[in-house]
Symmetry: C2
Subunit: 390 residues, 2 copies
């Protein structure tokens, strides 16, 4: 219930009378259930949960008192109930990035005299700072990466294809209890649950919405992720994956070499590691997000690699990491404009990369929790360039 009180405070500060929460992750956060529901939160007073289906499940799942549940399948009934409860609704908040236009229009029609505003920034700002249990779940999700790592060590060899490796990674994490769906906030983002498994040939071809090593995928319908490309001796292989456990995602990447690393591969790896380390060294409460990015950028310049830092040319990114939680890519985005101040309880992914045409790429992505004095690394696998049988 504290979470609802925090949102109510934010609503009052912005003169928002009523918030309607519909997106499954937001519902799970505020009501404890991701079943088909609409959660009404007035600025003052108790929330009401309209349950469209799976009533018996909701009874067990939700943290709300059962007196605040309403069994209802019709969105038109919401307005009637709101009126009956005498909740003022001059200004209504919806999460406009997270619901479709069709639902938005229904809500506008149900509340013809109300102004509708976007409350996603309030919700995401609140979700940015995690509670103890949330940090535990993120840490447990991160810990599942050891299964993916072991699958790569076991199956990576010359002649294996990206898609075969992908299948092994996927199986290993699913069997260990990871979900096989990765959650994004962006409506059109879609990351395969085994992440991006990419070998040298496909490393500097940057596809889709993501600003990273993406791979080229299996068809034009989903042109990123693993392909049928065969790994050859000397290849670099990046595995960059989200891991979803209990609804909370970790985001981790490691780079592997098939055989012995060349001196150039080792040199580039050490540069990426150096960039990551200067960023990690900066992390503590009070630091602004943009300081992390600018620190990384300065180090990439000092190393003479700025041209390839976070991609190159038009596909270059200007961020060094992001929040993780109920969605894989949450605020804060740690870019050159990020004015968010770090506080204890944030969970961040720090992901420097150098992507160099013809050479390939190196990615190291680690998850950290912000502590009172710095950070705690929760990735379970050491930060090495792993040499796998050649």
């Amino acid at each position: 219930m504290d979470r609802i009180r925090i949102l109510q405070k934010k609503m009052i500060a912005r003169a928002i009378d009523l918030a309607i929460i519909m997106q499954p992750r937001d519902l799970y956060y505020y009501a404890g259930t991701a079943q088909p529901c609409n959660l009404l939160i007035p600025a003052v007073g108790e929330p009401l949960l309209f349950v469209r289906r799976a009533w018996d499940f909701v009874l067990k799942e939700t943290r709300l008192p059962h007196s605040q549940l309403v069994e209802s399948a019709r969105s038109s009934e919401i307005a009637a109930v709101v009126e009956a409860y005498g909740i003022a609704c001059a200004k209504i908040g919806l999460t406009e990035d997270a619901i479709p236009a069709s639902i938005y229009k229904k809500m506008i029609d149900s509340f013809p005299n109300s102004e509708v505003v976007n409350i996603s920034p309030l919700v995401l700002e609140q979700r940015m700072v995690k509670e103890h249990q949330e940090l535990e779940w993120i840490s447990e999700a991160a810990d599942l990466f050891r299964h993916a790592h072991n699958a790569i060590l076991k199956f990576l060899r010359p002649g294996v294809t990206e898609i075969q490796l992908s299948a092994r990674v996927l199986e290993s994490v699913r069997e260990a209890g990871g979900e096989s769906i990765i959650r994004n906030r962006r409506w059109d983002a879609s990351l395969p649950p085994e992440g991006l498994v990419v070998s040298t040939t496909n490393m500097w071809r940057i596809s889709g919405h993501a600003m990273t090593i993406t791979g080229v995928g299996l068809s034009n319908a989903l042109p990123w992720g693993a392909s049928h490309t065969e790994v050859v001796a000397g290849d670099l292989v990046v595995v960059d994956m989200g891991i979803n456990l209990n609804g909370y995602q970790a985001d981790i990447a490691r780079t592997y070499v098939v055989g012995s690393a060349s001196s150039l591969q080792l040199e580039v790896f050490n540069q990426v590691l150096a960039i990551q380390q200067v960023v990690l060294d900066k992390i503590k409460p009070g630091v602004k997000g943009k300081e992390l990015y600018l620190t990384a950028e300065a180090e990439a310049k000092r190393l003479g690699q700025f041209q390839y830092f976070q991609g190159y040319g038009k596909m270059k990114g200007h961020y060094i990491g992001h929040g993780i939680g109920l969605e894989l890519d949450e605020p804060p985005t740690l870019d050159d404009k990020c004015n968010v101040t770090l506080v204890e309880g944030m969970a961040l992914a720090i992901e420097p990369k150098l992507i160099i045409p013809q050479f390939g790429g190196i990615v190291i992505e680690d998850d950290v929790l912000v502590t009172p004095t710095g950070y705690r690394l929760i990735t379970p696998v050491e930060r090495c360039l792993f040499e796998v049988r050649g």
Copy 2:
């Protein structure tokens, strides 16, 4: 290009001046690329594809002439270009179920003098009847189910958990080249890529958005799909999965018994098979969708099983199947109100089920293509109750 001409005809019939296509599957359908783009289709004349990222990929992927591509990252530029091209835009069509409210509002702001209407029904009506290549891809997707089936035959035994089976099914289909993301039209639907792997104990607990055997999942964050429940001798196990190949989905279910089927299990299986067969026998061009549902319902009543047909109580469904294609659950929905007339080139999933508290459930789901004289079954595995080691 024919696809765009067909949409233009529909637009002219409804006095829609301009369609803006943004959702990745719709983009893939009309432009051949799922990269981040906006496709503008005027009622008369040539389309324009605004490319936000991955220009080099789009050049290779799209079927549009390159003269119709515009490299642009800003949605505000769209309105300027539309004005420069002299495209009338008194009435603009958007796919309102498929884009978020935030994008919808941006578009409203970019075209302040236009009326916006929902063109999703036009797009989905067109996509309902597939071309030859689309039917090939759906058939190839369906064919991948043999890998899932073999994984079940190999790994199902007393003591295995739903999640372990899930991991094997997932690996087998991914390795064979299936995607590990299943596409839905509904914004809040999310089906694990290995589908719903459910054993007896969890069969009559119906969770989430789906109207079927759902399983209970691993946590409240995603409370359907496989759980840690152990399979025991005598259990029924349903595997109901979408398979995505080249962006096209098949939707298939089979039911397995651990050990020898009891006479009751066999009897219920034969009833579900009988319901499916009367529906299949009806399928040919000219028949209305609701006739399929009503035929199934009549057979369920004749068998004395209507109470458990497509679920029970509040969780009972009133449909017998649906279209399949770029999304797992496309029009037509074969329910008691479906006035869509079947035509050659439709791809349908027919999914009768009996869900009986304490007993468990039987699901048989098969995919068919509507032919000039009837239907062609494309599921690669026979319609049996499979007895697996006890």
